[in-house]
């Protein structure tokens, strides 16, 4: 069965064996599950450093983002605008109404993509997996195409709402198709159902785009990224995203087990069905809302977990928070660049994310490392 890259996992088991020659994890698992989990190769100290410096960088990024822009506003004014808001001043309004929600939106979106990508990769054990695999991007795109084709001029908030509904609906269909199959929900089946449904929805929306000639409008919408984020959207999104992030952290141990393979996970006493369902719900909430706000910049969801894994090892208890932080940093700086490269025009954020991410990703993917 070659459907999954077995080398990837094989190397991990090998690396465990290399680092702990006397402990075979399968051997240890029979005695004590917790013991087996401790055998998994990870670097907690590096992980803590990565998260700490990531958060520091993020704070710096948020600060710079708020004060830089088409209109130059000094740090002091920014400080006042945040903590002693005076609605009569234009500069305070720019900060409060435009820049602050936008940068917070970036942080949320980046963290959501990062975390959901990490969960998807761990759950499906496929290094190519991201939240797009559940059909989220295609579903959101299809919903948007319908809105653009049949209800032109819908307000921004409704567009976001509809694309979230589209994303969630397609994820539910994928999950249901995977589950009703004989033999239950396997990672391969989930992935294949997701890819197929994505292709179907993408075909529908491309058909609509060609027929109604709305392709470029949609391209502009997706390129616009987080520019239209307002406090109201953040208020609607933040409780859900907060809950989902907490859930992701709570489930991270189970994701590590799933990432070792169904058999090992079962052997360690994990009930994989409910865990997978919970993971899917979390991914839908996180990536669904992120996709509907910025569009399919899913490269973040691929990149952040890979970078995190290279840095902190293969324990998802560290990978998940680290990829959340890294994703947030990436999107925040990409958006900063999107606004400042060519002001007052916006450069597409997806392009900038790739521009920043691709060289780094290539470097990490090709660096010779023993452990992965």
């Amino acid at each position: 069965m070659f459907l999954f890259d077995t080398d990837w996992r094989f190397n991990i088991v090998k690396s465990i064996a290399q680092h702990h020659p006397q402990h075979d994890p399968a051997e240890a698992s029979r005695e004590d599950p917790a013991e087996a989990l401790n055998q998994i190769y990870s670097r907690p100290r590096t992980a803590m450093l990565v998260i700490f410096f990531g958060l520091l960088l993020l704070a710096a990024g948020v600060g710079i983002s708020v004060s830089f822009g088409a209109a130059d506003i000094g740090f002091l004014t920014v400080w006042e605008a945040v903590f002693r808001y005076n609605p009569d001043l234009t500069s305070h309004q720019i900060i409060q109404e435009l820049r602050l929600p936008r940068v917070l939106g970036c942080v949320m979106v980046g963290a959501s993509f990062g975390v959901s990508g990490a969960i998807m990769q761990g759950m499906t054990r496929n290094p190519l997996a991201d939240s797009g695999l559940l059909g989220l991007n295609a579903g959101a795109g299809f919903a948007l195409a319908i809105c653009f084709a049949f209800f032109p001029g819908l307000p921004y908030t409704y567009l976001i709402l509809f694309s979230f509904v589209g994303a969630a609906l397609s994820a539910v269909i994928v999950f249901a198709l995977g589950s009703v199959a004989k033999g239950g929900l396997t990672p391969v089946r989930l992935v294949l159902a997701g890819v197929t449904l994505s292709a179907l929805f993408t075909a529908f929306s491309e058909g609509l785009q060609l027929y109604f000639r709305i392709g470029q409008d949609m391209a502009f919408w997706f390129a616009g990224g987080v520019a239209g984020t307002r406090w109201m959207h953040l208020k609607i999104m933040s409780p859900w995203i907060g809950l989902a992030l907490a859930g992701a952290i709570a489930l991270s141990r189970s994701v590590t087990l799933l990432s070792l393979g169904e058999d090992i996970a079962k052997g360690l006493g994990l009930r994989s069905g409910p865990v997978k369902a919970a993971c899917t719900v979390i991914v839908v909430v996180l990536a669904g809302s992120a996709v509907s706000v910025v569009g399919a910049v899913s490269f973040v969801g691929l990149l952040a977990p890979h970078v995190a894994r290279k840095l902190v090892g293969i324990d998802y208890r560290w990978i998940i928070p680290a990829s959340g932080v890294l994703g947030a940093v990436l999107v925040t700086f990409a958006d900063l660049a999107a606004r400042t490269v060519h002001p007052p025009y916006e450069t597409p954020i997806g392009a900038l994310i790739a521009l920043i991410g691709v060289p780094f990703f290539l470097y990490l993917a090709n660096k010779e490392r023993r452990e992965l």
Partner: protein, 344 residues
């Protein structure tokens, strides 16, 4: 000489596979006939026969031989080529999600077409051969780039590294594509997005003659190497243990896959879904021995694209739906049905 005795189960399996392959062939013939008959001007079956044997009117002759037949032949060739290319890539990378697109083939070709369209004011004013050659070159350059970054002198190609670099290069190219496509005027944008949706736009015999050498050489080569693909699909260490020259075989087969997919994409535009889904479809029909799987994949791919192109020409007459979209619309539900029904 030693005669080989088959177990009853093996015999049953072979018989079932033979039936599957035969019915695929029969369906292709049926689709071929229907497709010859599909279009703005109807040709009755009798007219068809008469024209085929050279005694139709000039108009019928023109329609059949200059418009419909080359397009049908091209559909069959691209279907087979893309499907086999996808099958080989999935086997070598041992990843269910790999398709020719993962090596940057579609993205590279798309970018080349985009740059071409952005610099020429309209596609019509340029020489007709420039576009497929550019697309082919774009596909080749992107794939070569992914290869070169991934190849190591001592360890060869690791499938994991290949996929990772493929993702990265793909994303980089897509980023450029986004930036350039926002600067196009609406007509140019429409042309590029129709191209990217996989409209089979190479429609005359010259495209058949350009495509045919690749298919005629590479397809039999891959079939001939079916045993090697079997072994490689078990993983590098297993394949080495079984005595395969893993590095060399991997590079050769990947080059063959790129050649197939690149030349097909240059003529058809990006029909990515065929390469992704047909190998899975065929595996669910005939099992996973590549000696039978590869030919079955080629047939299924050819059938899928031919049916898709025929439907695309028929549904919204006289305008056309790109075959790439129809492939997804008819292929996806059938595949989902197989996915839900089968156990493995």
């Amino acid at each position: 000489m030693r005669t080989i005795e088959f177990t009853p189960a093996e015999l049953r399996r072979r018989k079932r596979n033979a039936v599957t392959v035969a019915s695929l062939l029969a369906l292709i013939v049926l689709a071929f006939i229907l497709s010859m008959n599909t279009g703005f001007i109807r040709l009755s079956p009798l007219d068809l026969l008469r024209t085929l044997f050279g005694s139709g009117t000039d108009q019928q002759h023109l329609i059949l031989f200059d418009f419909r037949l080359p397009r049908i032949v091209i559909s069959l060739l691209i279907g087979a080529g893309l499907a086999v290319s996808g099958s080989v890539l999935q086997a070598i990378s041992r990843n269910a999600l790999a398709d020719p697109g993962i090596l940057g083939i579609n993205a590279g070709a798309g970018l080349a077409v985009l740059v071409f369209v952005a610099f020429y004011s309209s596609a019509a004013s340029a020489p007709a051969y420039l576009l497929p050659i550019l697309a082919w070159a774009g596909a080749g350059v992107a794939a070569l780039l992914v290869f070169m970054i991934s190849y190591r002198k001592h360890t060869g190609l690791s499938s994991n590294r290949l996929l990772m670099n493929g993702i990265a290069i793909n994303s980089g190219i897509s980023a450029l594509t986004i930036v350039i496509s926002l600067r196009l005027n609406p007509d140019q944008f429409q042309f590029v997005s129709t191209w990217m949706a996989g409209s089979i736009w190479g429609k005359d015999w010259s495209f058949v003659t350009a495509l045919l050498p690749f298919i005629v050489v590479l397809l039999p080569y891959v079939f001939y190497k079916a045993h090697t693909v079997n072994v490689l699909s078990l993983g590098n260490s297993m394949a080495t243990g079984l005595g395969a020259f893993v590095n060399r075989e991997q590079v050769l087969l990947l080059a063959a896959a790129v050649g197939l997919a690149g030349s097909c994409v240059a003529v058809s535009g990006s029909i990515g879904f065929v390469g992704l889904i047909t190998p899975h479809l065929a595996r669910r029909l005939v099992g996973s021995r590549f000696q039978i799987l590869l030919p079955a994949t080629a047939l299924a791919g050819a059938l899928l694209v031919l049916v898709a192109d025929t439907l695309g020409r028929w549904v919204l007459q006289p305008s056309e739906i790109p075959a790439g979209l129809v492939v997804a619309v008819i292929g996806a539900p059938y595949f989902l049905y197989l996915l839900v029904r089968s156990r493995s």
